[in-house]
């Protein structure tokens, strides 16, 4: 039962991570690549970490070993770190790219450029 849940969560996470990796190869410019890189990879990593959390919780419950408690708590902290830092890093890169003069390709509207 637990094994099936873990496998399903891992497959969802791996699919999103794969899509993120493909996305940064397929998309045409920096901003669209950031969409794939920051969003899909973060989402996929949340799911793979969720699999680890489920596994650790189940083992904690059945074996009552503190190693698994450590594993669950540290995994949650790592996911929170990813959730805080990844979008901020993406924003910093996007802002830096726009300031250094890289414009979005095929853009229908660019308010930021118009107001500069």
């Amino acid at each position: 039962m637990i094994l099936e849940i873990v496998i399903i969560l891992l497959i969802i996470g791996l699919v999103f991570n794969l899509l993120g990796s493909i996305g940064i190869l397929r998309f045409p410019d920096v901003y669209t690549r950031l969409h794939a890189g920051s969003k899909c990879a973060t989402f996929g990593s949340i799911f793979t970490s969720l699999a680890v959390v489920v596994y650790g919780s189940a083992m904690w419950y059945t074996q009552d070993s503190m190693v698994y408690a450590d594993m669950v708590i540290h995994t949650v902290i790592a996911v929170i770190c990813l959730l805080i830092t990844n979008p901020t890093g993406a924003h910093a890169i996007a802002r830096a790219a726009h300031r250094s003069g890289i414009m979005p390709i095929r853009a229908v509207v660019d308010r930021l450029k118009e107001e500069k």
Partner: protein, 170 residues
């Protein structure tokens, strides 16, 4: 109020240390007394160093009611995020995009609020915060599929997230 800032920072650091070392013993709940002593010592040191960094001028985030709202906020946020990711996944496979940078006005007054809204927007469907105007509190958002060129509110980009964040931070 420097003393209050110091106390809040010490308590936050102590909680973080105790979360890190959970399960170390059985003296005090699930912690050993050594971890408690070391944690209090470290928290005092870090409180001295960073008392004006973690807590700014206002202490409104100390209120536990806001934390409850923040935890409830995770619900709609993950819903938006899941929708977003499936949308972006389809666009990665098909490759049809319609990008652009739009300007959205916000009504958030605090720095933390605008940070949370920006990070939420970056993590949700096909939107990415490129720049922020600190004076007028406007966000410049790169949108993978531009539906409205001149949004009046943040409703069309981020749904109901701004309401939740305003409830949590103001």
């Amino acid at each position: 109020m420097p003393l209050l800032n110091f106390i809040v920072t010490v308590i936050a650091c102590l909680i973080f240390y105790l979360i890190l070392t959970a399960g170390s013993g059985t003296d005090i709940l699930i912690w050993s007394w050594q971890q408690f002593a070391v944690g209090i010592l470290f928290s005092l040191v870090v409180g001295m160093v960073g008392r004006n960094v973690l807590v700014g001028k206002d202490l409104r985030m100390v209120n536990p009611r806001r934390w409850v709202v923040l935890i409830v906020y995770l619900g709609p946020f993950f819903l938006e995020m899941a929708k977003a990711n499936i949308d972006v996944a389809i666009r990665i496979i098909t490759g049809n995009i319609n990008p652009g940078i739009v300007k959205i006005p916000t009504n958030l007054k605090t720095d933390l609020g605008i940070t949370m809204l920006s990070n939420s927007i970056t993590l949700t469907p096909g939107t990415l915060t490129v720049d922020v105007d600190e004076k007028t509190r406007e966000l410049y958002v790169h949108w993978l599929d531009v539906k409205v060129k001149e949004p009046e509110t943040s409703e069309s980009v981020s749904g109901s997230l701004e309401k939740w964040i305003r409830r949590a931070t103001e």
